[in-house]
């Protein structure tokens, strides 16, 4: 398969993920969209890794996945803490810093 297919798919996933982050109010969905963006990046890494026959890209993917897992763990913990304090996790309700 030509390289461009991978890149187009990756770009589409990234765009969908970004839209999800910007448009959705539910933080769980935002996290899922973030994962989509991570995976879009991972896909490009893997595609280029195969294309160039070197393992550097694959290596990066593992790092990205680990970091993403840790990040989600922290994020979910934050959400639990916020829910305890405000009884809601609607992102638009978290506007204490409004100027």
């Amino acid at each position: 398969m030509p390289m461009s297919y991978y890149l187009i798919l990756s770009a589409a996933m990234f765009a969908i993920g970004a839209l999800g982050v910007v448009l959705r109010r539910n933080p769980l969905v935002v996290f899922m969209s973030l994962e989509l963006m991570f995976n879009a990046a991972n896909l490009v890494f893997v595609a280029f890794s195969a294309y160039h026959q070197i393992l550097d890209g694959d290596l990066f993917v593992f790092f990205v996945m680990t970091t993403a897992a840790a990040e989600v763990a922290v994020g979910l913990a934050l959400m639990v803490a916020i829910f305890r304090a405000k009884r809601t996790i609607d992102l638009d309700e978290m506007s204490t810093l409004k100027g």
């Binding site: 970004a18 982050v21 910007v22 448009l23 959705r24 109010r25 992102l91 638009d92 978290m94 506007s95 204490t96 810093l97 409004k98 100027g99």
Partner: protein, 660 residues
């Protein structure tokens, strides 16, 4: 005594008073009044002892020397050191300051004991002696300075002490503010003079590159040939400083008000020593003044005009201390005239004798005031209400006195000696010193001679008036009737000073001229003084005439009642009113200087400061706030919009990187 062995003692003339200050500050409360007075007096006396040792050393080595004590400033080539100059001129000043100062310290023990009780705050006894010692220390710095900068330190130091001591009872006086205002006036007027002295010092530094006396005076002739205008400017700006410190026209107005301070202060600072600092400065700087005849003439005429002008005012005063204050201004005028004419020895001679007899007169006046206060308190205790003005009784008003000759005999006799010395009656000290100035004036400047002779006549006249009003006739108030002689601690210094005032003429007696031979080693261009018999006789006749006229008007028919008008008021009419009101000089200054200045200050405060400057500062603040108000909308608090912003930012950055 070997000069080299006593020279290292020089700094102790300053250290002893400073030591006295610290001892009294640390332990004064525990020591009580006796201890405080003894420590302070001892500090002054030891200072006098050091000065006497230095004088003995100088006797065998009259050229003098300097004792390098401390490197003070060193900037590039310029240095100003803390060096003590020990020569005949500075040691003469030290002896006068410490000698008269010691006597006044002792006198103050008795005087302030009564004064702090009369004013209802015995705790201030210690403060008084600390200030007095501080004054002696500052004055010693002034006279022992070896450069203009160190002299300026002492100059400002004595000004500060003067301020502190005029305002010693700062919450007293008319309206509870008059004393504080008098202190402020003295300080502000002196600042104007100090500005002149500072400019002179700057000019000296700029043109000579040094402030050391020896360097400056040695270079003066060369600089005078190249830049005569500079020397003229230096000397005239210096004169402004002199008119401030030595109370000459036009800056003399602070000295009469300075009488708000306790009487020993008036004697020590505002008669005997501090106010002579200006005379000392001109005498010290003769090398500069003798380069420009114009400056000498200006100094001379300022002095002569002051001598006459102040003497006229003294004629119309009723306050015993105000008379002496204007007399001091007048006598300082004599000294300034002398140093202006180049007769520095005569000026210094009059400075020394004046220190004796004027300190004596002020302390005698203090003794009179103590007696009056005593009599007043006794009258009040007996519940008498015979006098209508009982509540506003002024123990310093000569109209309330009279007949004190019998009540206070010691005070009367010493006061008489001081008064006759001031009037210039032979063979008392004032006759010789004043005569030397008059003789010099008659030789070189006849117009000045006439002005000074007229001033001498007025001097004798107001002296006779004061003597008659205070000591002769009948008591004109119950306070005067109940007055009593002061204790020995007050009268003994008076007797010593009376001895000095009587015999002070021997210092420069016409045949021996000790003072002249002593001072010619440190004064520039000393001319041998001449004793002119005709001038001496004329001045004696003038003095006796003044006394006689004064006696005819005030002594033959003494005032009967405290409210009776002055016998001169009717014949002189408007003129006497002018004298009584001091020629309205204070009112003139108020209208010409103070009022416009206040109006300017008001203008700068209201429209300029509150309008323009506050407007600028507040405008900047308001602009910031308005800008922030419009930009705060960006911070809308929606997490998603922040995320969008980040996204757009990333897109922009990437776009830039790609398209670059």
């Amino acid at each position: 005594m070997n000069f080299e062995t006593v020279l290292p003692l020089a700094p102790w003339v300053v250290f002893f008073p400073v030591l006295g200050i610290f001892l009294n500050l640390l332990f004064g409360k525990r020591l009580g009044e006796k201890g405080i007075g003894v420590i302070a007096s001892l500090a002054a006396a030891l200072s006098f002892g050091v000065a006497a040792l230095l004088a003995l050393g100088l006797a065998g080595h009259p050229e003098g020397g300097t004792y390098p004590f401390l490197r003070w400033l060193a900037v590039g080539d310029f240095t100003a050191d803390w060096n003590f100059r020990v020569d005949t001129l500075s040691v003469t000043m030290m002896l006068v300051v410490a000698g008269v100062g010691t006597l006044i310290h002792i006198y103050s023990i008795g005087y302030m004991h009564a004064d702090v009780r009369h004013n209802g705050d015995p705790g201030r006894f210690r403060r008084f002696f600390v200030f007095l010692n501080l004054f002696v220390a500052a004055m010693m710095i002034l006279v022992s300075a070896d450069n203009f900068l160190m002299l300026f330190v002492g100059w400002e130091g004595v000004g500060l002490c003067s301020y502190l001591l005029i305002g010693f009872w700062f919450e007293k006086g008319a309206g509870g503010i008059a004393n504080a205002q008098a202190a402020k006036k003295a300080f502000v007027v002196n600042r104007i003079g100090d500005f002149g002295l500072l400019i002179a010092i700057f000019l000296i530094f700029y043109n000579f590159g040094s402030l050391d006396f020896d360097t400056v005076f040695a270079q003066a002739p060369q600089v005078a040939t190249v830049l005569p205008g500079v020397i003229l400017a230096i000397t005239l700006f210096m004169l402004l400083g002199v008119t401030g410190k030595s109370a000459q026209l036009p800056l003399y107005v602070w000295l009469p008000d300075a009488m708000a301070g306790p009487t020993p202060v008036s004697a020590l600072i505002h008669a005997a020593t501090m106010v002579t600092a200006g005379v000392y400065l001109v005498a010290r700087s003769q090398a500069l003044y003798q380069q420009v005849a114009l400056a000498q003439d200006v100094v001379m005429w300022v002095g002569a005009a002051t001598a006459f002008f102040a003497a006229t005012i003294a004629v119309g005063q009723y306050d015993i201390k105000k008379v002496l204050a204007y007399s001091t201004i007048s006598q300082l005028g004599f000294m300034v005239t002398a140093v202006g004419m180049g007769a520095a020895v005569a000026g210094m001679f009059h400075l020394v004798t004046h220190a004796f007899f004027k300190a004596l007169l002020f302390l005698g006046a203090g003794s009179v005031i103590l007696g009056m206060e005593h009599g007043h308190e006794r009258a009040a205790a007996h519940g008498s209400h015979a006098e209508g003005h009982h509540t506003t009784f002024d123990p310093q008003d000569m109209r309330n006195m009279g007949g004190l000759r019998q009540k206070m005999p010691v005070t009367f006799w010493v006061y008489l000696i001081g008064a006759l010395a001031l009037a210039g009656i032979a063979p008392l000290s004032g006759f010789f010193s004043k005569d030397e100035i008059l003789a010099d004036a008659s030789l070189h400047h006849p117009p000045v001679y006439f002005v000074l002779t007229a001033a001498a006549f007025l001097t004798a006249f107001y002296v006779a008036r004061q003597l008659a009003m205070v000591f002769f006739g009948k008591p004109r108030s119950e306070a005067a009737a109940g007055a009593k002689e002061s204790p020995a601690v007050v009268t003994v210094p008076l007797i010593i000073l009376a001895g000095l005032a009587a015999a002070g003429g021997l210092l420069n007696f016409p045949t021996t001229h000790w003072l002249e031979k002593w001072l010619e080693h440190s004064l520039y261009g000393v001319e041998p003084a001449k004793f002119i018999l005709s001038v001496a006789l004329i001045s004696l006749v003038v003095a006796l005439g003044g006394l006689l006229v004064g006696w005819l008007i005030y002594g033959r028919k003494p005032l009967e009642d405290a409210r009776q008008a002055d016998p001169l008021a009717r014949p002189l009419n408007g003129l006497f009113l002018a004298l009584e009101n001091k020629w309205w000089v204070d009112e003139l200054y108020q209208a010409l200087v103070v009022k416009p200045y206040l109006r300017l200050a008001q203008f700068l405060a209201q429209p300029v400061d509150q309008g323009v400057i506050d407007g600028l500062v507040n405008g900047v603040g308001n602009l910031m706030r308005a800008t922030a108000q419009s930009w705060r909308r960006v911070q809308n608090g929606f997490v998603r919009s922040y995320a969008l912003t980040i996204l757009l930012g990333v897109v922009l950055v990437v776009t830039y990187l790609v398209l670059r």
